[in-house]
């Protein structure tokens, strides 16, 4: 094969070095997390560190195989690979084994495989193929619909497995879409919704309404050409509120204050819209629309929170936002995690000397909460170094993605960075109490064959594509 030498010469060894370094550090920390003074050999395969060694070995083999394949292979088989994994995701719902409440595993000869992990790179491939196709335009409705289905299908299937956390990582693809032209407004709306959701839970409904009104009025102030008009708006609003309040006072004494507010808004909105239609001032419609929808959304958050979310999900959000603190129930994991990390100090307690990890205070220590071991044994120094390593990895991947000539490779590259980033963000955020407890692994660090191999494949496909970036394979 004529390209072999140049391929390997063109590989980005920076990323590969970071990859190997992360693997190594991850393995060391798993060892520390599971460490038992009585067992001496590192090759004890009944222990997790022994097993992880096997998984790492296999991962390197898989990486190698991935690099040997032709880049055209990935392009050509993008959709079929995607289809296979969709099929597997459906199959696992019926044939799968349930572990920890989620029916997301196949059991092959004693080894557990999770198709949802592998579906990530399959989706990335399919997405890259779609976006790079000839007629694709990000602003066409049909294109957007296609993308939504592409990303949404595996997410939905994983959600049906009762593995909500893994389904949520598919949100990462928004970043990819954004890079490829998705309107910034979408991102804005996502942040607005998230912000409103959190505010609605934290803050009294009426206060939130008033805050929204003030923001809208400020925006309005900058939009109206004449101050007099703005004054009229204020007057009408005040008048409507008075009318609303007097209606409550005389007719409906049982109405809550937020109800009065809504009534006042409703009256004034009617008047405004009427006026706008009269004067054909169309540009204000959007503002009113956003304002009313925000009100409605905030109002419904409570309902959704109480009636749609499951109790353990409610508890985790409560814990995160500090609404309810239950250090021995729902908040136990995070509490112990923060304690473990916090107790590391600047330099950490030293290798194998972490008391919290040693005494097993932190649950899921070698998987979801592996970062605690880093924090406790390597201290601030350790956590910062690992974070910087990941930052370097993401930056490098993005840099490489930008230098791709083919859209396919670029899109795929951004997918890799986004997926890895969201895992990093949620996993570490969860251990330090900045994210709700969602069980997803830290890439290359957490114990587990499925996640390690799927991340390896995800990354190395990109490395392979990058190595051939100067060739015109697609």
């Amino acid at each position: 094969m004529p390209h072999r030498k140049s391929t390997f010469a063109n590989l980005d060894w920076a990323i590969i070095s970071i990859y190997l370094l992360l693997l190594f550090l991850g393995w060391i920390n798993i060892y520390a997390a599971v460490y038992n003074e009585q067992i001496n050999t590192i090759f004890d395969f009944s222990q997790r560190y022994g097993k992880q060694l096997v998984w790492i070995g296999a991962a390197i083999l898989i990486a190698f195989i991935t690099l040997i394949l032709e880049p055209r292979f990935f392009v050509f088989f993008a959709y079929p690979i995607y289809g296979v994994f969709i099929f597997l995701l459906i199959a696992v719902l019926f044939l799968g084994v349930e572990i920890q409440g989620a029916r997301s595993w196949f059991n092959f000869a004693g080894v557990n495989i999770q198709p949802s992990e592998f579906a990530k790179f399959a989706t990335a491939l399919a997405l890259a193929k779609t976006i790079s196709s000839y007629n694709f335009k990000m602003y066409h409705y049909r294109s957007i619909l296609m993308i939504l289905m592409l990303i949404g299908t595996p997410a939905l299937l994983i959600f049906l497995e009762n593995d909500t956390g893994s389904a949520l990582v598919y949100m990462a693809f928004i970043l990819v879409l954004f890079r490829e032209g998705l309107s910034a407004i979408v991102l804005f709306i996502v942040f607005l919704v998230a912000g409103l959701f959190i505010s609605a839970l934290l803050v009294n409904t009426l206060v939130l309404f008033i805050a929204l009104l003030i923001v809208t009025l400020v925006a309005l102030y900058f939009m109206t050409p004449r101050t007099k008009d703005f004054g009229i708006v204020l007057a009408v609003l005040t008048g409507s509120m008075v009318v609303a309040w007097s209606m409550k006072y005389f007719f409906l004494p049982g109405m809550e204050d937020s109800g009065v507010f809504i009534l006042g808004i409703a009256i004034s909105s009617l008047l405004f819209v009427f006026r706008l239609i009269q004067k054909r001032l169309n540009r204000y419609y959007l503002l009113i629309f956003i304002f009313l929808t925000s009100l409605l959304f905030s109002f419904s958050v409570d309902y959704v929170f109480n009636n749609v979310l499951e109790p353990h999900q409610q508890a985790r959000i409560n814990e995160l936002l500090g609404i309810e603190s239950d250090p021995f129930g729902a908040g136990y994991n995070v509490n112990q995690s923060k304690i473990a990390i916090g107790s590391g100090g600047f330099l950490g307690k030293g290798f194998l000397k972490g008391t919290q990890t040693k005494f097993d205070f932190v649950p899921a220590q070698s998987t979801d909460f592996i970062f605690c071991t880093v924090g406790e044994e390597w201290g601030f120094l350790g956590t910062t170094v690992v974070t910087i390593l990941f930052m370097l990895l993401f930056s490098r991947i993005i840099l490489l993605a930008e230098r791709q000539r083919s859209v396919f490779s670029r899109v795929y590259g951004y997918s890799v960075a986004s997926v890895l980033f969201i895992h990093f963000c949620i996993n570490i955020g969860m251990t330090i109490g900045l994210m709700p407890v969602i069980g997803i692994p830290l890439p290359f660090f957490s114990y587990g064959g499925s996640s390690l191999w799927s991340f390896t494949i995800l990354l190395f496909i990109f490395l392979r594509l990058d190595a051939s970036r100067l060739e015109l394979f697609y």
Partner: protein, 610 residues
């Protein structure tokens, strides 16, 4: 494509900002905040449940009937243990080594991280010695519990006992955990929720040596325990004690009620047992001993035994007859050593005419047989079956054949037959006639009435037509009042005007020719009635109901003495003694011999063969 090239910076910027935020957070957690470091070194969080004192129980005069004594459980968290001197521990706890090893094994199997109980209810003395040496036993710690003490050694059935909760109880009420204690019978069970208070919880920080270092978060997550509410029960403990003493060595029951309020002054089921037996470590062992005792001391006869009422039932017949107008106080019936109709014979002892008052005082069977017949055959009813159903309605309004609704949980209904019952089970389809069920008129036959219902019946007579649902508890805590249903009058459907003549009869029971003449008390007008409940397996049961004084009655009671023979042999004198003791605080000298005779009577011989 390239139009969006600048977005790479946005995305990259977003990622970098996230990284920076995380690093800042690390700084905050690891370098700045000393809390976490502190928490970690102290980080064994120990949750200690604080069991509150259980409510005390007083009698109506303020005498303490039940209180709490502290006891301690020893628990261990296996992971925290290190090598320790097992011999010493065994010695301190006064248990054998194999026992200790077994418990430790079980604890390890259950969980290395969670505490398990090793020994329950260590006495205070053992605890004192143990505490001195606790530092030698890492991973072990004590939890305080309370045990009940019964200073007066009486009213075992009424007070009930406390034992470990069953799995059924735990699933019905998640307040309980395995190993908790709750009331199993009597007041302890009926008022469990009020007596148990509310468990508290304290979180402590314990270091690696299992020594308590302080409160977690200054006790912010702690909850103070609330002691249980004290109860004042309606018993008069002096009276209760007297009743138990005078009924010693006999089987049976006594229930005494205050008619004006329905409060139960005394309730005894004999033989009884020392309530202190069912406390503490020996409870299980003692309980099986008591259960296997053939005299059945655990069985609460006052609430659960169903006896035929015997002649005491006659007043109810009289009242129904008067109300229905089939007899008047002057109506006369003949007793020819009984009542005979064709082939039917009911035996009696007299050879004379009787009117109502005399028939009650001398307990004439023939009289009441004929009253009963007149009621059922009253022309307005059309047929005997309807008449019987009317009779049944009257009888159940006296509180017979149903649950009265007391604050005891194991009240029995008793049994009053219905016409359907006779058709199906007794006469099996053959249409029955009055003569076939005449024995009901004198309180024999298919009747089952509990001593409580009998005492309640005496209450109805005392009040001339109504009763208050009998109850055991007067006051809960400081302010709460009891269930309002105990303050509502329950009416028997007999008009008040008919009672006087019946009470005349009951008063004459204590006069010459009355069946209980020899038990009368000077200076107190008692009303009562003897009864003899037939017992096919041996000596008949002696029954008596009474209340006193006739005007403004203070006490109404029922006395059953199994195998006591005629009603006037044991039940009547015992009832009169109880009344005299309650009303005058003493027994008059001329009656001391009766008292002595009753104290000494021992009727616990096995039933004579039939």
């Amino acid at each position: 494509m390239d139009a969006y090239k600048r977005r790479r910076y946005v995305i990259l910027g977003f990622i970098i900002v996230t990284g920076v935020i995380f690093i800042a957070r690390f700084f905050q957690l690891q370098v700045l905040s000393p809390d976490y470091k502190q928490s970690a070194t102290d980080n064994v969080l120990r949750k200690i449940i604080q069991y509150p004192s259980r409510g005390l129980i007083y009698d109506r005069n303020g005498k303490l009937l039940v209180y709490d004594k502290a006891s301690y459980d020893l628990l261990v968290t296996p992971r925290e243990t290190q090598d320790f001197d097992t011999t010493l521990l065994c010695r301190l706890l006064e248990i054998e080594k194999p026992q200790l090893t077994e418990k430790l094994e079980a604890a390890r199997k259950y969980s290395m991280y969670k505490p398990s109980t090793i020994v329950k209810q260590i006495t205070q003395e053992q605890y004192a010695y143990l505490q001195e040496q606790m530092h030698k036993f890492q991973g072990f710690y004590t939890q305080t519990r309370t045990l009940r003490e019964y200073p007066l050694n009486s009213a075992a059935h009424v007070l009930g006992y406390v034992g470990e909760v069953s799995t059924g109880m735990i699933s019905r009420d998640d307040y309980y955990q395995a190993g908790d204690y709750a009331g199993i019978s009597g007041i302890e069970k009926s008022y469990e929720k009020e007596l148990r208070g509310q468990k508290g919880v304290q979180y402590f920080l314990v270091d690696v040596h299992s020594q308590i270092k302080g409160s977690y978060r200054d006790g912010r997550n702690d909850m103070a325990p609330q002691t249980g509410k004290n109860l004042v029960c309606t018993l008069d403990s002096d009276l209760q004690n007297y009743v138990e003493t005078i009924m010693q060595n006999k089987k049976g029951a006594v229930v005494a009620i205050e008619p004006a309020t329905g409060e139960v002054l005394a309730m005894a089921s004999m033989p009884d047992y020392d309530p202190g037996l069912l406390v503490g470590r020996k409870r299980g062992h003692n309980f099986s001993l008591l259960q296997s005792d053939t005299l059945q001391p655990i069985f609460n006869r006052a609430l659960m035994a169903q006896y035929p009422p015997g002649s005491t039932f006659k007043m109810a017949q009289a009242l129904i007859g008067l109300q229905e107008g089939v007899i008047t106080p002057e109506t006369t019936f003949r007793c020819n050593y009984g009542y005979h109709m064709g082939n039917y014979h009911m035996a009696c002892h007299h050879n004379q005419d009787f009117q109502l008052v005399g028939a009650i005082a001398q307990s004439c069977n023939a009289y009441f047989a004929q009253v009963f017949k007149k009621i059922l055959e009253k022309p307005e009813f059309g047929n005997v079956k309807t008449g019987f159903e009317v009779w049944y309605e009257y009888i159940t309004s006296f509180g017979f054949g149903q649950i009265l609704g007391t604050d005891f949980h194991n009240e029995q209904k008793g049994f009053i037959p219905t016409s359907a019952y006779y058709e199906t089970h007794v006469f099996k389809g053959v249409p029955w006639r009055v003569l076939w069920i005449m024995s009901l008129s004198i309180g024999q036959g298919e009747l089952g009435i509990t001593p409580l219902q009998m005492a309640n019946y005496a209450s109805i007579l005392a009040n001339r037509g109504f009763y208050y649902i009998p109850h055991m508890v007067q006051k809960i805590g400081d302010q709460e009042t009891i269930d309002p249903k105990f303050n509502e009058k329950q009416y028997a459907v007999i008009n008040e005007e008919y009672f006087d003549v019946v009470l005349d009869g009951m008063q004459k029971v204590f006069e010459p020719q009355g069946t209980a003449y020899w038990t009368s008390i000077d200076g107190i007008t008692m009303c009562g009635k003897t009864g003899t409940a037939q017992n096919p397996h041996g000596e008949d049961h002696s029954v008596f109901i009474a209340f006193a004084p006739r005007e403004n009655p203070q006490i109404a009671l029922s006395v059953y003495v199994e195998n006591g023979g005629g009603g006037s042999q044991y039940a009547a004198p015992i009832a009169s003694l109880i009344i005299e003791k309650y009303l005058t605080d003493t027994v008059s000298r001329r009656r001391r011999w009766i008292e002595e005779r009753m104290f000494d009577a021992n009727l616990l011989n096995p039933d004579k063969p039939n």
